[in-house]
């Protein structure tokens, strides 16, 4: 058969950029602890400190002599409560308005700010600082541990987020990684990462539930596994319910029992730490004594497991309601679940295990350390993204996305549990005669009214030509990428006027804030940027050369000697330019090569058409190009069976 009908696997062509790639790490950026893992060899591995500890407490101390992260920061708390921040994940992507509700409960000092909208800032060591910057400090420490342990620089990472994180919190997490000098290959949902780590890929098939009770968030996800594809069916949870809340419940009981009136910040932190220790000990013991000295008052409080369980049962029941909801969403009954995986330190609490077992009717799986399983999954995914893999994660958006319409009612554009990436367009119209602008208010949540949903951002489409009410056709498009991040655009269809935003103005960083912070942190200096652009230009040039090489091998015979010589000379010039340091020269050489191959492209197209017409009916030619299903569907045309 002719060259036209030869079909070869895209994987057979060499990688377009053969430049050496570093190791990509997997990071579980947790509310209480963060963990970093790498999967470079056969077995994924959690990177530990000299004492064999894999957990890095997500605690940051801003000391006059510098930033301290982890256990050392924790130790500084007693003496320097003003300088130490923990549980920052709970504030990621939160606005001033959201946090007011939490302020009494959580150990944060919110910076007084003139505006009531926008990102929340904390008052730490006399500085006003954003949750993104604090998270970036944790990530820098994580990165440092990885670099030390691997003995090489690390710039690429997969970072996990709770499945139930909304768009603002996802953006904030990505921004934090950028500030820490990490290129996020993908944000992966924690339960999905856990499923991957569980080696559920090792031949397991069926529907699995991942019950993830983290420090500050609760997630429940249902995944269907078949032949290495991890398909998320539904996900749900509570982004304001976590293991911390169990500690709080205990601490409050201790306060009530001891008659303590008011706690200062240091006192509250110390008490919470004591409460957490008691929670952990109650896993093994029936009764534990909580002792602490808070502001001169001695607390001496004994709690039995039974009492503790009575205290936390309402919280655990809340998680079970979320479980019921996700099963309902996926139209799955507990009997159809093949297995339940536990994630998060608080799933060690016996009552949690018991309730999970009652609900699903089977003992949960917990063979991998629940504190580390997410990081291990992230590392496996980092490997899959950089080195290739047989497994595939298909995730969904956790919360519906919509826009505000008249009367504060939400019109949903994308429903929750829709697979990502996704793009959907919906038409709206004007409600007043002569209306020339339209405010697009993007919200996320399941409720019908705007007030009950989360506001993600607002933007305005201006310049609509005056028409009678209802005549304009405004098409609003929501696009969610594979990281779960949203971009919204609007277009008036009659005139083609457009407006677009990446939805992050309220709670993430604006471009200019990001630029300022990057400058401050000196993570990417100007030279760095130049270097990056040069590398990108080279990568693109290599791609052009490889593609042309493939084309010349297939169809080179179509060229006259003269044409061939012109192309070869342009190739040589480009190869020369790639060796140099001048980005503009590389780009110019790519362009002249493009010019030189113009006629070649024309010959190839003409021959394809001629062959299609000669001897074969068009249907035959089309069929032969479009059929021939390959087992993995990678060939052109029809899919794999």
């Amino acid at each position: 058969m002719s060259g036209l009908l030869q079909i070869h696997e895209p994987g057979e062509t060499p990688e377009p950029h053969a430049q050496e790639r570093g190791i990509a790490i997997g990071i579980d950026l947790g509310t209480t602890n963060s963990v970093v893992a790498v999967a470079d060899g056969e077995q994924p591995e959690v990177l530990r400190d000299a004492h064999g500890d894999g957990l890095i407490p997500s605690v940051v101390a801003l000391m006059p002599e510098g930033v301290v992260v982890g256990r050392a920061a924790q130790d500084l708390r007693a003496k320097n409560p003003d300088c130490v921040v923990s549980s920052i994940k709970r504030l990621m992507g939160r606005g001033v308005h959201d946090v007011k509700a939490l302020a009494g409960v959580l150990p944060y000092r919110i910076a007084a700010s003139g505006d009531s909208v926008g990102m929340v800032r904390l008052e730490v060591a006399g500085r006003s600082i954003t949750p993104i910057e604090i998270s970036a400090e944790i990530l820098k420490a994580v990165k440092a541990r990885a670099e030390q342990s691997l003995g090489q620089g690390v710039t690429q990472a997969v970072v996990t987020v709770p499945a139930y994180f909304d768009d603002a919190a996802r953006s904030a997490t990505k921004d934090a990684a950028k500030l820490a000098g990490l290129d996020v290959l993908r944000l992966v949902n924690e339960p999905t990462a856990a499923a991957l780590a569980y080696g559920l890929d090792s031949g397991a098939e069926g529907v699995y539930a991942i019950y993830d009770l983290g420090g500050g968030t609760f997630d429940i996800s249902l995944l269907r596994l078949q032949k290495g594809v991890f398909q998320v069916l539904s996900t749900g949870g509570d982004s304001a319910l976590g293991g911390d809340d169990l500690d709080h419940a205990l601490a409050e009981r201790a306060i009530a029992a001891s008659g303590l009136q008011k706690l200062d910040e240091a006192g509250a932190a110390a008490l919470l730490l004591a409460a957490r220790a008691v929670k952990e000990q109650l896993t093994e013991r029936d009764s534990v004594k909580l002792t602490a000295e808070i502001g001169g008052t001695k607390i001496d409080f004994t709690v039995s497991r039974r009492e503790f369980e009575a205290l936390i049962d309402p919280l655990v029941q809340r998680t079970m309601r979320a479980c019921r909801q996700v099963l309902d969403d996926a139209r799955v009954t507990p009997k159809e679940i093949q297995g339940v995986v536990l994630v998060g330190g608080s799933t060690r609490v016996p009552l949690v295990r018991r309730r999970v077992e009652e609900f699903f009717g089977r003992a949960p799986l917990a063979d991998i350390n629940p504190d580390e399983v997410v990081a291990v999954g992230a590392a496996l995914q980092a490997k899959a993204l950089t080195r290739g893999s047989d497994t595939l994660l298909l995730d969904v958006i956790p919360l519906s996305l919509g826009i505000e319409t008249m009367g504060g009612i939400v019109e949903k554009v994308i429903d929750r549990n829709t697979p990502i990436p996704v793009a959907k367009a919906q038409d709206f119209t004007t409600y007043q005669d002569g209306q020339t602008g339209m405010l697009i208010h993007v919200v996320q949540g399941e409720r019908e009214t705007v007030d009950a949903c989360r506001s993600l951002g607002r933007f305005e489409l201006l310049g609509i030509p005056p028409m009678v009410a209802g005549a304009a056709r405004i098409q609003v498009t929501f696009a969610v990428d594979a990281d779960g991040l949203l971009t919204v655009s609007a277009m008036e269809k009659i005139t083609g006027i457009r407006a677009e935003i990446a939805v992050k103005p309220s709670y993430g960083l604006t471009e200019s804030e990001m630029a300022d912070m990057l400058r401050d942190s000196l993570v990417h200096a100007r030279d760095d940027m130049e270097q990056r652009l040069l590398i990108e230009a080279r990568v693109e040039a290599e791609r052009v050369l490889l593609a042309l090489d493939a084309a010349l091998k297939a169809d080179g015979a179509l060229l006259s000697d003269e044409e061939r010589a012109a192309i070869d000379s342009a190739i040589a010039k480009l190869r020369q330019a790639i060796k140099g340091e001048d980005r503009d020269l590389v780009n110019a050489a790519v362009e002249s090569l493009d010019h030189a191959t113009h006629a070649f492209a024309q010959h190839r197209m003409d021959r394809a058409v001629a062959q299609a017409l000669k001897g074969h009916s068009l249907d035959e030619v089309e069929a032969s190009m479009a059929s021939d299903p390959a087992p993995d569907g990678r060939r052109p045309g029809r899919p794999a069976e």
Binding site: D328, L613, V621, P639, A640
Partner: protein, 216 residues
Amino acid sequence: MPTQADDTRAARAAFVSCWSCKGPVAAQALFCHTCGAIQQPAQLDHFRRLGLEPDFDTDVDMVEKRYLGFQRAIHPDRFATRPAKERAFAEAQAVALNQAYETLKDPLRRAAYLLSLKGVDASVSKEETVRDPELLMEVMEAREALMEATSIEKVEKLQAKAGADAIAVLSGISKAFASDDLDAANRLTTRLKYLRKYLDETRTRRIALEQEQGTA
């Protein structure tokens, strides 16, 4: 008889130019057969995107199989370290594929979509008033019965009935499409839409009752 000029035009339309190596590539190919580069998604209906003929009775297992097969090849995760352009094309392919899958795996969406392909606007997603008085009456009565149901057993009974109705409607839609009776298909699709909504309401009601009784 098509003329030679028609044939030439058709032959040209069957190919597009690969963005990477500039060579000819079949208009609906996912990858260039010469240089292997991923292509932009072609303009295809959801059925053809999955290599199926437009048909209400399409095999859902096949939809599933094809969807997963294609995802393995074009999911953006496979292109995470490739240049931005290829990542963008992979994302666009995955978006198109997800849309096809979401539409075809659900019989209600599939019916509405097939109607729209055949030029009937079924507008399943939009709230609109019921024009069919008989259906309107039925919906109101069913809602009333649900409001009055105060025990889980009663709600379950209503749920079971609505579920059986939905199954009957589905087979009706299938027959209507098979005999190309688009009016009937449209009417039944609207009916299915209301049954679905009603089933959701019964579920909500049951959960509410369960919670009431659980805490009582």
